[in-house]
């Protein structure tokens, strides 16, 4: 086994009086993909940030090429060939793809920028990543998975020796994930040391050579990937046996509650129809960009649309969010930070925002708001270190629980949940799944949109699959399989129960 390029030895990190990492040993070797896994708040991000020079350790040593080194900042660390790809993109939205890839290290001819060389190099990198994004397009106009690819292209262009990837696949579909994995394998074969984090254990098993599990700031175990199973990893992360991840499905009623017919959104959704029954969990599958989110937003009144949406027999007007909520239909966004929560505001202000009028008119009744927050914290098991803290300082899982509480505050009959578990740990995932099952058992009807096949299969009794803006087909009962969903999502067959006209 080769010597590590970069290693941590007995590293601890404290924020104020609170120690969040307790003596972590961790090594990245050339030509090896090392997965670092753990629940939210286990210390993964802190470890990565120390390795990438964004944070300095409180005690312990960082060792580069066998010698202890003192990092002075992320710039110096990048110059050493250690590149970190952040989960939240660090892209300048108004600059084009190639300008972003070469940001800070522009290619020059004399004193002038060499636009052509940068554009050509970017096009090469992007085609290697099988992305169709044009290097000249502003980043603000490309999709989220493409942005991820731009981040990766940026790292590839920098001749990395060590590549640190913070949940790179969280926003990618399975196909895009495969493309990414091919690049990761290529880099590994070139001798790059790779640190990889993900909440998807199947992926870890697939791509990693070695896996280290963190729990509450302690390194619980570190093994070659062949020596552990997914179950072992999950158990080590959570610290207890995880029983079946998905709760039992409840029987749906026969009574249709939501009837969507021939809904179109210009350019993204064409003549989509579906029916949701009382007490049912309906899944919507498909690739990112297939129009799933846009369809859901159109139904909820967040986008202009044509076609009809009938809720409990009454038509819903297009483009009227507040009216849809009043009628009993709400949508939980996939974009938690951009469209779901006010990150610099308190929990209370976030929770009551959609329904302020019910908390006293004309003056808001602070006591009732606080009581509602008490209930939400208890019902959704939100962990709040300090009640007045900004929502942005909560962990991802707790943010998601708060967003659920906020969305469900109006006591809706129909809930559309887009990516219910994006970027949250496995323990919280299970809580969210149980909550969805409880809602359905209580007579509410749920639509779950997800890129994670097991999630659709585990939760939904019926799955509608979208492809290129159309409903490609519908699967029910035992026909709900990964294979079936993938075939429809890739547009490989137009059979199934064809719902679209």
């Amino acid at each position: 086994m080769s010597e590590p390029i970069l290693a941590l030895k007995g590293v601890t990190k404290s924020f104020g009086p609170i120690e969040v990492l307790h003596g972590v040993d961790f090594a990245l070797r050339p030509g090896e993909v090392h997965a670092l896994i753990g629940e939210n708040g286990a210390g993964k991000s802190t470890t990565m940030k120390i390795l990438a020079g964004y944070l300095s350790q409180t005690r312990g040593e960082i060792i580069l090429d066998g010698k202890p080194i003192e990092f002075t900042g992320s710039d110096q660390v990048e110059d050493l060939g250690i590149i970190m790809i952040h989960q939240e993109f660090n892209l300048a939205e108004h600059l084009s793809v190639d300008q972003n890839v070469f940001l800070g290290r522009e290619l020059k001819r004399g004193w002038r920028l060499d636009h052509r060389a940068m554009r050509t190099r970017t096009a090469e990198l992007m085609s290697r990543l099988e992305s169709r994004a044009d290097p000249a397009t502003p980043v603000s106009e490309i999709s989220v998975p493409e942005k991820q690819m731009v981040e990766i292209a940026k790292a590839l262009s920098r001749q990395a020796r060590v590549l640190i990837m913070d949940e790179p696949t969280a926003v990618l579909t399975e196909r895009e994930t495969e493309v990414l994995f091919r690049q990761v394998e290529r880099l590994r074969d070139e001798g790059v040391a790779i640190l990889y984090t993900s909440h998807k254990l199947g992926e870890v098993k697939r791509i990693a050579d070695r896996v280290t599990v963190l729990r509450d700031g302690i390194m619980v175990r570190s093994d070659l990937i062949d020596d552990v199973t997914e179950d072992d990893m999950a158990t080590a992360m959570v610290g207890r046996e995880l029983s079946d991840l998905y709760p039992p499905k409840s029987d749906r009623g026969a009574e249709p509650i939501l009837e969507v017919s021939n809904v179109s959104v210009r350019g993204v959704v064409e003549n989509a129809s579906l029916t949701l029954h009382r007490g049912e969990v309906l899944g919507i599958g498909g690739l990112v960009g297939s129009g799933r989110t846009e369809l859901a937003e159109a139904i909820a009144g967040l986008r202009p649309r044509t076609g009809t949406v009938m809720l409990k027999g009454q038509p819903l007007a297009a483009g009227q969010v507040a009216q849809a909520m009043k009628a009993g239909l709400v949508y939980l966004t996939e974009d938690r930070k951009g469209a779901g929560l006010l990150l610099e505001k308190s929990l209370r202000e976030n929770l009551t925002l959609p329904l302020l009028k019910d908390f006293g008119r004309p003056l808001i009744d602070r006591k009732r708001e606080e009581a509602a927050l008490d209930r939400a914290i208890e019902d959704f098991a939100i962990k709040v270190p300090a009640r007045n803290m900004a929502v942005g300082d909560l962990s991802g899982g707790n943010q998601q629980k708060l967003l659920l509480a906020k969305t469900l505050l109006s006591d809706p009959d129909v809930v559309i949940i887009d990516e219910p578990t994006r970027g949250i740990d496995i323990g919280t995932k299970q809580q969210v799944y149980n909550l969805i099952a409880d809602l359905a058992a209580g007579g509410r009807s749920i639509i779950v949109i997800s890129s994670e096949m097991p999630e659709l299969i585990g939760l939904a009794s019926r799955v509608v699959v979208m492809h290129a803006g159309r409903v490609a087909g519908e699967l029910a009962g035992d026909a709900v399989t990964e294979n079936g969903i993938v075939r429809l999502a890739m547009g490989m067959e137009q059979s199934g129960k064809e719902n679209a006209a």
């Binding site: 951009g338 469209a339 925002l353 302020l356 709040v384 300090a386």
Partner: protein
């Protein structure tokens, strides 16, 4: 996480004194202390009421501006809007007095017209920003020029004056009052209290902050984003109308220089008071403190020969910059 920290919000709110919260108040107190040391007349009844009455116009406008800025908007047109509305009001009252004489009815009609014109001007700004989607800065830069040029044109480059009969009938609205307080001060105080309550305790105030904080989140939370934004501009227009109603009886005239730079003074007062220029957080009491700080500075310079009053603008400029620097998030940048 302790049970105590969860249950005891009162204690959490009264946590350590935050300079960013009370900074403007501290500055005001320091300014008053300096004033008392330099000139014993500083806190005299006549000086205090004089300062308050003069700051009332900017103050009333700044209260409306607080809502616009909190909701992520901006309005540069309020100064010339005030001049234009004042000009309209004077012309209308002069015209009415020809047929109706110098009566109270004429003045009441003039007041109604001023409030209506302010409301309409605010509505035009708001509707163009929310429906036509024009950047607030650009649009109000445009309407600022339009109103300024209209008042210059109406006054034919000179001054529009209220007839002397009307003028003396109307002047108690600025110079009169009850309990030793003049009307502008009373109106300013009432509007400030009302504004603070609306900002802090109503759905409208909360919605303004949510929109300024993240418009998309507000929209996804079924807030009527465009309606609320429009309302902030309409309210600001109305507050300009109220300010004009208090201002016209003072001099009984309007000219091309009426209300010059009021918009910048109002915006400065809002920012000094701790409202975020990019929106998302606003407080009306802070704006009131900001208005008082700005007018006390110029008053101090006039009362003392310590520093030339010509340097008024420079000192105000330093205060504005200091206020923003002090209020910046002092935490590490991510």
């Amino acid at each position: 996480m302790s049970a105590e920290s969860i249950s005891n919000t009162g204690a959490a709110r009264a946590r350590k004194v935050d300079l960013r919260v009370i900074g403007p108040l501290v500055a005001l107190v320091v300014l008053i202390l300096i004033g008392v040391m330099l000139n014993p007349n500083f806190l005299s009844y006549s000086n205090v009421t004089n300062v308050l009455a003069r700051s009332a116009f900017i103050g009333i406008i700044a209260i409306g501006m607080t809502f616009v800025i909190t909701a992520g908007g901006l309005d540069l047109s309020v100064g010339s809007m005030a001049a234009f509305v004042a000009g309209l009001m004077i012309m209308a009252m002069n015209w009415l007095s020809v047929s109706m004489g110098d009566s109270v009815v004429v003045i009441l009609l003039g007041i109604v017209l001023a409030l209506g014109a302010g409301l309409a001007a605010g509505f035009i700004n708001g509707i163009l920003i929310t429906r036509a989607g024009i950047e607030a800065f650009i649009l109000t830069l445009g309407t600022m020029g339009i109103y300024r040029s209209l008042i210059t044109w109406l006054a034919d480059g000179g001054t529009l004056s209220l007839g002397s009969g009307l003028s003396s009938l109307y002047s108690p609205v600025y110079y009169g009052g009850i309990l030793g307080l003049s009307w502008p001060i009373i109106v300013f105080a009432l509007l400030a209290i009302l504004g603070e309550i609306v900002m802090r305790h109503t759905a409208f105030g909360r919605h303004c902050a949510a929109i300024g904080s993240n418009e998309k989140v507000a929209r996804y939370s079924s807030v009527h984003v465009q309606r609320v934004k429009l309302a902030t501009y309409v309210l600001l227009g109305l507050s300009v109308g109220i300010a004009v109603v208090m201002y016209v009886p003072r001099l009984g005239s309007a000219s091309a220089t009426t209300g010059l730079l009021w918009e910048l003074e109002a915006i400065a007062a809002v920012i000094i008071g701790g409202t975020l220029l990019k929106g998302g957080f606003g407080r009306v009491w802070g704006t009131v403190v900001g208005v008082l700080i700005l007018s006390l500075i110029s008053n101090l310079l006039n009362l003392t020969d310590f520093v030339s009053p010509y340097l008024n603008g420079a000192i105000q400029g330093v205060v504005i910059i200091l206020a923003v620097v002090l209020q910046r998030n002092s935490g590490p940048a991510r």
